[in-house]
Symmetry: C2
Subunit: 198 residues, 2 copies
Amino acid sequence: MAAKRANYHHGDLRADLVEATRQLVEEKGPDRFSVSDACRAAGVSTAAPYRHFEDRDEMLLAVCAEAMDRFHALMLEAQAGHARGTLEAIIALGRSYIQFATSEPGVFRLCFGIAREHGDNFEMTERGMRNYGILLSQVAAFFGKDAVDEEVMDRAFPLWTMVHGLSFLLIDEKMEALNLNHDVDALIRDNTRRLLAN
Amino acid sequence: MAAKRANYHHGDLRADLVEATRQLVEEKGPDRFSVSDACRAAGVSTAAPYRHFEDRDEMLLAVCAEAMDRFHALMLEAQAGHARGTLEAIIALGRSYIQFATSEPGVFRLCFGIAREHGDNFEMTERGMRNYGILLSQVAAFFGKDAVDEEVMDRAFPLWTMVHGLSFLLIDEKMEALNLNHDVDALIRDNTRRLLAN
DNA sequence: AACATATGTAAGAGTCTCTAACTTTGACAA
DNA sequence: TTGTCAAAGTTAGAGACTCTTACATATGTT
């Protein structure tokens, strides 16, 4: 995408804009992203995106959807190497969460830091549930259950809060700021073990 | 603050702008906040703030500093009701974290969601360390230690990640979105206990 | 080939941040 | 009391951004 093109029509502007948006969100953060920047990157006028998106937020939402799908693939890959329902499988899922957050902090912040746009968006909650469902399923297996019941829910949710919080502390560089020195892998392992114990 | 005033000079414009900014951040979120809005609320021209602040970010930073101080007071109050080094004291600190986050989500997001402005800001890291120090001190006492050593650090940090993650999941309304039903107080209690066990 | 439709552009309204030049006011020295 | 200065306002405007409207051009169907 980018530079100048020969044709009046672009080819697949929507996809190019989503990719440009993703890159810019990563570079500058979701709040510093501008539609104009994305247009410059894609080599179109600033009015062009409005043929494909309702507004700026919808562009961000598209990036979000694509990212959730990539995250889904990452989780599947992470658990694939481990026997179902083992502590290792669950730890691997936690690691994939942290990896997603730290490898693309801008997009991670976008995905999880926007309540407004997601709350009432079915596509997005569905993606969220699908991803969380992977964890729920592993935790169910960990406790020797076939289905996700209330106990499974109660034991899985703390794992989410833990990796979620760790992700934000990492990408907001709180450990550097407060000069803390923790081994992230060890944290995930120990915390997961402790939260599942008892 | 607000409306129209008789005097050319304002009184304490800086303080009024900080308060207006705080309210607006809470109403619209840190990214939707505008200097213009704050000016309208304070009843001054849009150029006035630049006598008191370098730029928009510095206005947000001022809100942040004030909020960190309030949060400090909240933590002190929370732990005051419990014997030092008890599980209850630590749980009370966790509750105060969640309370701060959920009672003013906009400001909480501002305080913890901005890495850029804080990383290199001494005033802010100092406030952060002071607040985190309250937890560290309680955890040290919990393990029967006089000083904060490496083990204390390792056992305290997971508690932070847990309440931090829970805070964000709550204010981003992920539990509502995914239709999860958890008792927040119970979560804090059980997770704290599990993370400190063993 | 003709037309409808999809997808682009140009121009502009309205908002925002921040700057520059000017104005008012209060404080303090003479 | 008065003159002067610095602090703290204002007005005007540059430059950027979002989004709309009216117009232009390509594409596909018949």
